[in-house]
């Protein structure tokens, strides 16, 4: 809201320092955004919160200043001379859309001479950024900026049938506004029409057809109340935001409607002459009384934490226009708020008024809260550890948008086949899908790094993924996921995940089960699980997907469910005693069928030794078709044998090795090479 210092000085004493006033306004609710000097006149830009429509005029700001400085507001006295001709003999008003327009008032002025406005008015409007049109239009704009009530003047001669109809727009109805652009109407819009056509979009903008110009002699003056929601929807839909729509959206003073109507008639008469027809057409002259609000004693202190003298409280509320209605009790004092303050309906609202005028600077900063224990969430402890392991492994944390494009979403989806949820409005260019996995976003991140700087970025992200629920109306299954994308070998990333699992205090390694998932290379993806609980997916990214991102292969990706990882984690490690007895290490080289997996071998070795197996290390695989025949491989492994309570003798060790060899032979047809 732009406020002209010169204009404002008509209503309230401004002998104080301007900058001091600006600060006081900021600290009492009208935030000072800046001041510009326009033609020698300081123009102050004040931010008015959406609950304070009453401050969208110079008089409203003057009221605030008067309360802050304990002075009074000089409201202009309105005197109009009416002719004998009754307004309702000239014009009729029919309200068919009371939901959108609870009150419509109209006056008629005949015989005006439309012409330029005097300098004082042109300057006043220019200061607040409004260009002068003519003395009639300027008068309506001036009163709007004076009291905050939007007004409109129609050329009476162009109001067909001398009839105003407030009604919903019709389907396919077109309307040419005073900006000379055409707008398509519908039944959610409220229009001000005559017997033939729409002349204005209610509360938003007037029409070109009924515009006041040099040939105009007779006027219809509209001062009305339009409901915020209807005005807002129309302004949004038509992308037509005006000073008028802005004010109706924030509610106008129901009592001020008639004042504004008479005030604009007065100004027009002064500047353009003419005769005001007798009386007013008012569709709802009865204005409901405001309900009183009781401010109980002690409540101010209970909320603000300070004692304020009851007389001071009463003074502040009275000066803000709240009148004690005498209906007091032991409980407290009862106030009726002023008609322009729609935001005051409850005790809490009055407490806020007292606080902001009394001054928030008087609230102390030395009222500590009692001590209370608080604990770091296990989730946060776990995430610290996850990040520590991953950064140690050379991976960097990225954060990428939760809503992605179809291209990103379509490239890979390990968790679900259900289509992604979508937003109505795109978040970034073309992004409407709530991601079902983090991997594609990280692939995109890797691709951007590669394209812009030839960096092979190994990235991870910890974020929610959104899996559509089974029933349409329940919230999606949303969970924290850990996404990982890295270059290099499948086993490099697998190793990082294995280290992570160990560091989370999970001793049992993750089980891998080969799976087929779109986006992963065929035969190159596995499902990971801890015990019976699914943990996530790991795999080589399909070269076709990499091609889409112009990424060199190989790229390996994984995603883990963090709730699943946390479920199995033991974040407080328990010490295992270290055996004091020497260990024996033996290397074993087996030749066996290609189809035997390491995991099977591992199981056989483990169960063959039992508790005395301190470690089992895979060393390498190699193939020698000439010596061993087709479809075979050699597996070299190393076992460490140790007893926890005694020295393992050479014979005992030999016996254990024999047991391994025998088991491998029997269960896997694996032969030991000497």
């Amino acid at each position: 809201m732009l406020v002209s210092w010169k204009w404002l000085s008509k209503y309230v004493d401004l002998s104080m320092d301007r900058e001091e006033l600006e600060t006081r306004l900021s600290l009492s609710g009208l935030n000072h955004e800046g001041t510009e000097i326009v033609g020698g006149d300081p123009v102050i830009d004040l931010e008015v919160t959406s609950n304070r429509g009453d401050c969208l005029g110079h008089l409203g700001v003057a009221r605030e200043i008067a309360v802050l400085y304990g002075t009074s507001v000089k409201t202009p006295e309105v005197v109009i001379s009416e002719s004998d001709e009754a307004v309702d003999s000239l014009l009729s008003v029919e309200n068919q859309f009371i939901d959108a327009c609870p009150r419509y008032t109209a006056r008629v002025i005949k015989g005006v001479r439309v012409g330029p406005s005097p300098d004082w008015m042109v300057e006043a409007l220019a200061a607040v950024g409004i260009a002068s049109v003519n003395n009639v239009v300027d008068s309506t704009n001036y009163v709007t900026m004076e009291c905050g009530q939007p007004l409109h003047a129609f050329d009476f001669a162009k109001v067909a049938g001398a009839k105003i109809v407030v009604r919903p727009g019709k389907k396919d109805e077109k309307f040419r506004a005073i900006d000379h652009k055409d707008y398509q109407l519908d039944d959610s819009t409220c229009v001000i029409a005559d017997a033939k056509q729409a002349d204005a979009i209610a509360g938003v903008m007037g029409g070109a057809e009924s515009e006041v110009d040099e040939s105009t002699t007779d006027l219809v003056i509209e001062a009305a109340v339009f409901t915020p929601l209807v005005v807002r929807r129309a302004a949004r839909k038509l992308k037509l935001h005006s000073p008028s729509s802005y004010r109706f959206e924030r509610k106008v003073d129901p009592v001020g409607v008639d004042w504004a109507s008479r005030r604009v008639c007065q100004l027009i008469q002064e500047l353009a002459g003419g005769e005001v027809a007798k009386g007013v057409i008012d569709t709802a002259p009865e204005i409901a009384d405001r309900e009183s609000i009781t401010l109980r004693s002690g409540q101010v202190k209970r909320i603000l934490g300070i004692d304020i003298d009851p007389q001071e409280i009463t003074r502040i509320l009275n000066e803000l226009g709240c009148t004690a209605d005498g209906d007091d009790s032991d409980q407290g004092i009862s106030y009726v708020p002023p008609t322009w303050r729609h935001d005051l309906t409850r005790e809490a609202d009055l407490i806020e008024e007292v606080a902001r005028i009394y001054g928030y600077d008087k609230i102390p900063e030395d009222a500590p809260i009692p001590v209370a224990p608080s604990e770091k969430r296990p989730f946060d402890v776990a995430m610290d550890r996850v990040r520590a392991v991953l950064t140690a492994a050379g991976m960097s944390e990225a954060m990428t948008p939760s809503v992605v494009t179809a291209k990103v979403d379509d490239s890979l989806s390990p968790w679900t086949d259900k289509p992604a949820l979508q937003t109505q409005t795109q978040m970034l260019k073309g992004s409407k899908r709530l991601r079902r996995t983090l991997i594609p976003s990280l692939l995109q991140g890797r691709a951007n790094n590669w394209a812009t700087a030839s960096i092979e970025a190994n990235l991870f992200e910890i974020s929610h993924i959104y899996l559509p629920s089974d029933a349409g109306d329940t919230l999606p299954s949303e969970q924290y996921s850990l996404g990982l994308v890295a270059g290099g070998d499948f086993f490099d990333l697998k190793g990082i995940i294995e280290s992570l699992i160990l560091r989370m205090g999970i001793s049992e390694p993750a089980k891998v089960t080969p799976v087929e998932r779109p986006g992963f290379a065929k035969g190159g993806a596995v499902e990971l699980s801890l015990g019976d609980a699914p943990l996530g997916y790991l795999g080589v990214v399909d070269p076709k997907v990499l091609k889409q991102w112009k990424l060199p292969h190989p790229v390996v990706a994984a995603e883990l469910s963090l709730p699943a990882l946390l479920d199995a984690s033991r974040l407080v490690p328990q010490q295992q005693s270290v055996s004091a007895f020497p260990s024996v290490q033996r290397d074993l080289n087996f030749v066996l069928a290609e189809s035997v997996r390491w995991s099977e071998m591992e199981n056989v070795v483990r169960s063959a030794v039992g508790d005395d197996l301190a470690d089992l290390v895979y060393v390498e695989t190699y193939r020698d078709e000439k010596k061993d025949g087709k479809g075979t491989k050699r597996l070299l492994l190393s076992v460490v044998l140790q007893k926890s309570d005694d020295t393992l003798s050479g014979d005992q060790a030999d016996a254990l090795i024999q047991s391994i060899v025998a088991s491998c032979e029997k269960k896997l047809s694996a032969k030991l090479l000497s």
Binding site: G29, R302, G305, E347, I363, E365, K376, A398
Partner: protein
């Protein structure tokens, strides 16, 4: 050359070398002696070795034995001198060793600056007894609006200001409509969920991603992070709010910080204020705060006459950017390692 002459020159060489190495008293004179006697090109040992060809064949064996003897004596003299000058064993310094060459750095990843900021905020608030809480990002209108005292016709619910999820009904209408689910526009939703589950006293901070349809530029992004604090108990006042925020600011900014309240408007608090910190001589907007609106307490089943409370909210990005001198919010979500590896 006669054997005699050859042996004589070997003796002379050994004698000279011995005294040269014995008298070497720094790396320079040692190096000079090394080059003079055992140098691969012009060393005297090399010269004498060449003379061996001139010794008659039948005497070569004797000459060879003597040569080896002298060679090893010179080597011993050299090593003795070297260990004396090197001050120790033969793991001594290789003269080609350049300690100014760069070390072999392990590749260590980086933690995102937003994560670092969030951890910092949680740590400060944790010391004042606030525990972290989270909730879903896809919300229903009850938690995102209704319970927060944002009624049906409130502008904050406008489809153009929110990411409502597409539904069959929305698909039918040719315009955006208020749907049954949306990406939350504030983390206050978490406060409602916690209050619905628990009874006071409550002391939490809610953290996480929030979403608002803003055109991205250097200071706006349609996705960002909020931290909101909530304290509900008997007799919680605005003075407590101001105190907690001042302690927070002093902790975060590392100095005794002045703080001020400016009146504002939020549907879920009454009174509502904007909070500014005086930092380096200028007032910096920190975020919004206020006393919980009685309607919010009613929505979660608390009696507003029994309990009171405060809430505050701040944008994590703004604090993060200010702390690290980041000038473009979009960098945070780019995944660009040239940006990430600076943190």
């Amino acid at each position: 050359m006669s054997l005699q002459d050859f042996l004589a020159s070997l003796d002379a060489l050994q004698c000279d070398a011995q005294s040269a190495f014995d008298s070497a008293d720094d790396a320079e004179s040692f190096e000079a002696a090394r080059v003079a006697f055992t140098g691969a090109k012009k060393g005297r040992l090399k010269d004498v070795q060449k003379q061996m060809g001139a010794v008659p064949n039948e005497e070569k064996k004797t000459a060879g034995l003597k040569l080896n003897e002298v060679k090893s004596a010179i080597q011993t003299a050299l090593e003795t001198a070297q260990s004396r000058l090197g001050g120790g064993d033969d793991s001594g310094v290789d003269p080609t060793f350049d300690p100014t060459l760069p070390g072999n750095r392990p590749i260590i990843g980086h933690i995102h600056p937003i994560t670092q900021t969030i951890n910092h905020l949680m740590e400060i608030m944790g010391r004042m007894g606030f525990e972290a809480a989270e909730g879903p990002e896809v919300e229903d209108p009850w938690h995102n609006f209704v319970a927060l005292n944002i009624p049906e016709d409130h502008p904050a619910r406008d489809p153009l200001d929110n990411f409502y999820l597409a539904t069959a009904a929305a698909a039918k209408a040719d315009r955006n409509v208020e749907g049954e689910q949306l990406l939350r526009s504030q983390t206050s939703t978490v406060q409602i969920r916690i209050m619905e589950e628990r009874q006071p006293p409550i002391r939490i901070i809610s953290l996480g991603r929030v979403y608002r349809p803003d055109q991205p530029d250097a200071t706006h992004f349609p996705m960002f992070h909020q931290m909101e604090g909530l304290l509900v108990d008997k007799n919680v006042t605005m003075a407590n709010l101001k105190t907690v925020l001042r302690v927070f600011a002093t902790n975060y900014l590392g100095d005794d910080v002045e703080i001020r309240f400016r009146p504002s408007f939020f549907p879920f608090t009454e009174p509502s204020v904007e909070v500014d910190f005086l930092w380096d001589g200028t007032w910096i907007e920190f975020g919004g705060a206020g006393m919980i609106d009685p309607n919010v307490f009613k929505a979660v089943g608390y009696d507003p006459d029994e309990v009171s409370g405060f809430a505050f909210g701040l944008g994590v990005e703004r604090l993060c950017m200010r702390r690290h001198g980041i000038t473009d919010i979009r960098d945070l979500y780019s995944g660009d390692l040239r940006f990430l590896r600076q943190f």
